[in-house]
């Protein structure tokens, strides 16, 4: 059992938990994720790790309420326990030698991107962060980002920051400079749009995939992505991949695999 030691509602749709999981906290590296199961009847599902504190033995997870499992998770309060919490899973990001990086994040993806921004900043790299949200009320972690990066906020409706899409702002930045790497973390459609833009500009880019999976250790093969024409398992070979190799159309179709089986109201963020 893994105790929730802190709970913060980031907005109506997104919640932050700090979970007591000392071994995961100790082993975590930016780019990795966790798999959890809320209760005995629960499904196993992957979640972003937004931070880890090895000294306190805790891991911070941020999740958007998108279905039954995240709703169940959201019903837990400080002091409650999560039944199973396994991780850290996936390969860590390769941040070695990066000096100038643009992080493009959308919605709850900004939580997964945050540890990357922080690690890069701590290593002395310059980080530009383009963070996109649907509207002002849905903005999360903007203060945290400001501490470790130059933040460009973008909203669909212009209620905060610039009005438009993350790719609009990214295009402007790319007009001015070339980065060692662009990292995109967010909804598939956003990552696809980023890849399209950066490919045209010949700007090296990686994306972080978050497909459906059960075990997160290579056992189910549900997280298959087509990468440069080959099948890869996102949980073992990823979750980060060179953006130009990913078949996004297929990934988008696969993300809807169980849509008929689980009819749930989505909490729209982006």
């Amino acid at each position: 059992m893994y105790k929730i030691v802190r709970r913060r509602n980031l907005n109506d749709c997104v919640t932050l938990f700090e979970v007591d999981a000392p071994e995961v906290a100790k082993a975590f590296k930016p780019g990795q994720f966790a798999i959890l199961r809320v209760d005995e009847a629960g499904e196993r599902f992957p979640l972003t790790i937004a931070a880890a504190d090895p000294a306190r033995g805790t891991v911070t997870i941020v999740f958007q309420i998108v279905g039954k499992s995240t709703r169940k998770l959201n019903a837990l309060q400080e002091g409650d326990q999560i039944l199973d919490f396994a991780g850290p899973l996936g390969k860590p990001s390769d941040l070695d030698g990066l000096r100038e990086v643009c992080l493009v994040v959308g919605g709850v993806g900004s939580a997964a991107g945050y540890p990357l921004a922080k690690a890069l900043h701590d290593e002395g790299a310059t980080v530009d962060a383009v963070a996109g949200f649907r509207t002002r009320d849905l903005i999360i972690l903007d203060e945290e980002y400001r501490e470790v990066s130059k933040l460009y906020l973008v909203t669909d409706d212009g209620s905060a920051g610039e009005k438009g899409l993350v790719t609009d702002r990214l295009a402007k930045l790319l007009d001015e400079k070339k980065y060692d790497l662009v990292i995109a973390v967010g909804p598939l459609a956003m990552m696809q749009a980023v890849a399209k833009l950066t490919r045209a500009r010949d700007q090296r880019t990686v994306v972080s995939m978050n497909p459906i999976m059960i075990d997160g250790t290579g056992m189910c093969g549900g997280c298959r992505v087509t990468y440069y024409g080959e099948v890869k398992f996102a949980c073992v070979d990823g979750p980060e991949f060179d953006a130009f190799g990913i078949d996004f159309d297929e990934a988008i179709l696969r993300s809807k695999m169980y849509r008929r089986e689980e009819r749930e109201e989505d909490c729209r963020l982006l």
């Binding site: 499904e43 039944l83 199973d84 991780g87 056992m219 093969g221 298959r224 099948v231």
Partner: protein
């Protein structure tokens, strides 16, 4: 007495509606009758066919004499998972293949008697207080469990590290209820752990912790029994369409996550017509599970003939009785569909010369393609060893299939690290993995004792 006493099974029409066990096991009368058939051979060739060396003539004699408690104990002395092995061991290739009776009739039904003895009596478990070093076991499947139990009995402090939230490995996530009820797994694994073994769930060795860290934590030896659970795909067009899944995924959703039960949250794809690709036990399990979750048609596509199927005869027969349609000598070349699967295109095959496995090699018949219309395809064509642990440990030698290399004493290339079971051999059987686990435990014991002698 040339024929063995048959075991009762539920009728195909009834059993295909649920996941309850198909084979019902012997009654006491049936068991006594079957035990009478044992010739009690002095040289006991059957024992040589058992990877864990159960004293088979002895336990059968004990059944015959009505000493059921002792029979159960005789088995348990050599095998910590007798109810499991009595159900899923391929006895026909092992102990029973060597039975003298098999020369002129049917072998003694050793597996059924093993199941009878262990179902009807459980020998007492005594917790053992460890007085020796700490040993780590990676994986709680058949190899890891058997290694752990043996080590615990020798007095070692044993910790098992399990990636999932439940123990048993393939016994829990892979083999379905109708062949191996979870209550049997839970009971036998529970009793084994009661020897004083500690199990750490949700711990992925290679990610949560590396083997090196285990040594830093004071473990003196490590046994790797992480199995072969990394599913293979065919690399044919359409394999990533929605509705194509590995047998691992399909069976895990049902067996581990209980996705077929309404009170559980894990979703299960609705399937009307299913094509299962493969000819092994896992393919049979997947096909029969598909029928049980309500598929109207289940086609089993296999590129060789019936004789070449690696599945147990009994499983093939059960699948056929339940209505699985065998599409033999057919090899998938493409999966059809826009976003969802709509069919599988196959090529007819014929059998040519025998290949290195001794089975006749399937050869494609030109211009023989045909389509099976279906809304789900389940790939059951085998598994590789999981690569996570090995990739976290470059000094650990593996072969080109990703199997960990060991010497005849099950030592890996890293001192103090042993491996056994499917992670070494590739997909094999429960009992071979158990045999390897047991052997590794003895080798680890010898290794740790030799260090004291220095």
């Amino acid at each position: 007495m040339k024929k063995r006493v048959p075991m009762q099974t539920r009728s195909p029409r009834e059993r295909v509606k649920d996941f309850s066990e198909v084979a019902l096991g012997y009654t006491k009368e049936e068991a006594l009758l079957e035990a009478e058939r044992c010739l009690d051979c002095k040289h006991a060739p059957c024992v040589g066919g058992c990877p864990v060396e159960i004293d088979i003539p002895k336990f059968i004699r004990e059944i015959r004499e009505g000493r059921l408690e002792e029979a159960a104990k005789t088995i348990y002395d050599a095998n910590f998972l007798p109810g499991i092995c009595g159900r899923v061991c391929p006895q026909e290739n092992q102990c029973e293949a060597r039975c003298v009776r098999a020369r002129k009739g049917e072998a003694v039904a050793i597996g059924r008697l093993e199941r009878f003895a262990s179902d009807n009596h459980q020998s007492e478990i005594r917790k053992i207080a460890p007085d020796k070093e700490k040993v780590a076991v990676v994986g709680s499947g058949p190899a890891g469990l058997s290694c752990a139990a043996e080590l615990a009995q020798l007095g070692y402090e044993v910790h098992i590290f399990e990636a999932l939230h439940a123990a048993g490995g393939v016994l829990t996530y892979g083999i379905p209820e109708f062949r191996l009820p979870q209550r049997v797994v839970d009971s036998e694994v529970g009793r084994l752990l009661a020897l004083g073994i500690k199990i750490h769930y949700n711990t992925v060795i290679g990610r949560t912790k590396k083997v090196r860290e285990l040594f830093n934590e004071g473990f003196q030896a490590v046994f790797i029994g992480s199995g072969a659970g990394y599913p293979k795909f065919m690399k044919i067009p359409g394999e990533n369409l929605n509705g194509v899944l590995s047998a691992n995924e399909f069976l895990t959703r049902i067996n581990l996550m209980k996705a077929h039960l309404p009170e559980y949250d894990t979703p299960l794809k609705k399937m009307r017509k299913v094509a299962v690709v493969g000819g092994g036990n896992v393919a049979m399990d997947a096909a029969r599970s598909a029928l049980r979750i309500g598929a109207e048609e289940v086609h089993l596509v296999y590129r060789r003939g019936r004789e070449e199927m690696p599945a147990r005869l009994e499983e093939v027969r059960h699948a056929e009785e339940e209505g699985v349609r065998f599409r033999l000598l057919a090899n998938p070349v493409r999966i059809l569909g826009e976003s969802e699967v709509s069919g599988i295109e196959c090529q007819r095959m014929e059998l040519g010369e025998p290949d290195e496995s001794g089975r006749r090699r399937p050869v494609a018949v030109p211009d023989s393609d045909f389509v099976i219309s279906c809304d789900a395809v389940i790939m059951a064509i085998g598994n590789h060893p999981n690569p996570i642990l090995a990739s976290s440990m470059p000094e650990l030698k593996t072969n080109k299939w990703g199997c960990i290399e060991v010497d005849e004493r099950l030592r890996t290339s890293v001192p103090g690290v042993y491996a056994g079971g499917d992670v070494v051999t590739g997909s094999a059987t429960v009992i071979l993995a158990m045999g390897a686990g047991k052997k590794a435990a003895r080798e680890i014991d010898a290794y740790l004792r030799s260090r004291h002698a220095l």
